[in-house]
């Protein structure tokens, strides 16, 4: 009887721990896990990942003075860029003195106009992408950690609403593919869960580095919807929602994607 009771007790402990473990399993998949092993190796190898060319360019831009103030990033943030560790994990965020959120690219441009007294870099320009790749690379391997700023909540909610809203000639929402049908095939390609784990990302289709904004525009064109202007707040709202959705996932920038 005693032995049976100990056995039952052990069994229940086992079941409880199994349930706990399964509850703790993260079922989210980064696009990395849906790539073939050769592309995964390409991303992991710092001398085969073409995104690292842009990180190298970014390191040069980081040390180059610009604007009327003739200041370089190194003058305030230090030469190593290590001060930027963790920064890409928490953007979009509300910069000091502002009341609307800005993404990493917008934050870099804010630093340029406010502190360097230089003209903002155009969207998707090589210099802007290089700088954001350099900053984002400092956070590689760390978990995505959006800030707990209550002011972000309404923007994030609007992002979630955009995510769920059907639009375009195909009348699709982001959620229709990336939530409801993720993991299935679309014309031979696995539909990813759309976690922004590696932006700016080197996309083989683009043959260059591109921001999350470019990727969102890409999907908008795909569902035959009108894409928002580059400076419109909709992208930032979607980015806010996506980063929260990917909270805790490992950051991979600069990632490689097909």
């Amino acid at each position: 009887m005693m032995r049976l009771r100990i056995g039952l007790c052990l069994a229940s402990v086992f079941v409880a721990s199994l349930a706990l473990a399964q509850g703790g399993i993260d079922k989210r998949r980064s696009g990395y896990q849906d790539m073939g092993p050769s592309l995964q190796k390409m991303q992991d190898d710092g001398t085969a990942n073409p995104g690292m060319l842009f990180v190298q360019l970014g390191a040069q831009a980081w040390a180059t003075p610009a604007g009327a103030a003739n200041k370089a990033c190194v003058d305030c943030h230090g030469a190593s860029g290590a001060t930027m560790k963790g920064v890409a994990l928490r953007y979009p965020a509300i910069p000091e003195g502002a009341d609307t959120p800005a993404d990493l690219e917008a934050r870099i441009n804010l630093c340029r106009t406010a502190n360097q007294k230089a003209a903002p870099l155009p969207p998707e320009s090589r210099e802007l992408l290089s700088l954001s790749a350099y900053v984002a690379h400092q956070s590689r391997g760390q978990p995505i950690a959006p800030p707990d700023d209550p002011r972000l909540a309404p923007f994030r909610e609007r992002g979630a609403a955009l995510w769920a809203a059907r639009q375009g000639q195909l009348n699709l929402s982001c959620a229709a593919c990336h939530d409801d049908n993720a993991g299935k095939k679309l014309a031979g390609v696995t539909i990813p869960e759309a976690h922004p784990t590696g932006y700016p990302v080197y996309r083989l289709e683009w043959q260059t580095l591109g921001s999350l904004k470019r990727r969102l525009r890409n999907c908008l064109v795909g569902i035959r919807a009108e894409s928002y202007a580059y400076d419109s707040p909709e992208y930032v709202m979607l980015e806010l929602f996506l980063m929260e959705r990917a909270r805790g996932m490992a950051f991979e920038a600069p990632a490689v994607r097909p």
Binding site: D45, G46, T47, A48, P50, M52, L53, F54, Q56, L57, Q60, L204, Q207, T208
Partner: protein, 106 residues
Amino acid sequence: MANVLINAPKTARRGEIIEIKALILHPMETGFRPGTNGSIIARNIIERFTATWNGDEIFRIDLSPAIAANPFVSFFAVATDSGTVSLRWSGDEGFQVEESIAITVE
């Protein structure tokens, strides 16, 4: 501005076959694409890549417009003597880049 990433062993045993990998930032514009104003964007590709080991040519390729941007080249060589491996890229619009790496053969 040259922007190159090279992956090669720093040391090798004599007679060992080593792999040298090189990645370079280049648009590889085909010369077949029309620009936003309808006129053709001029071709701008890397035409030739050569590798020399202590001055002796060990590897050469001609690149074509069909090759993707930021070409990645990987090749094998037999380590014979310690010295310098020079990698040279040359192409349209006077593109000339040379990068050297030192390899010690024991």
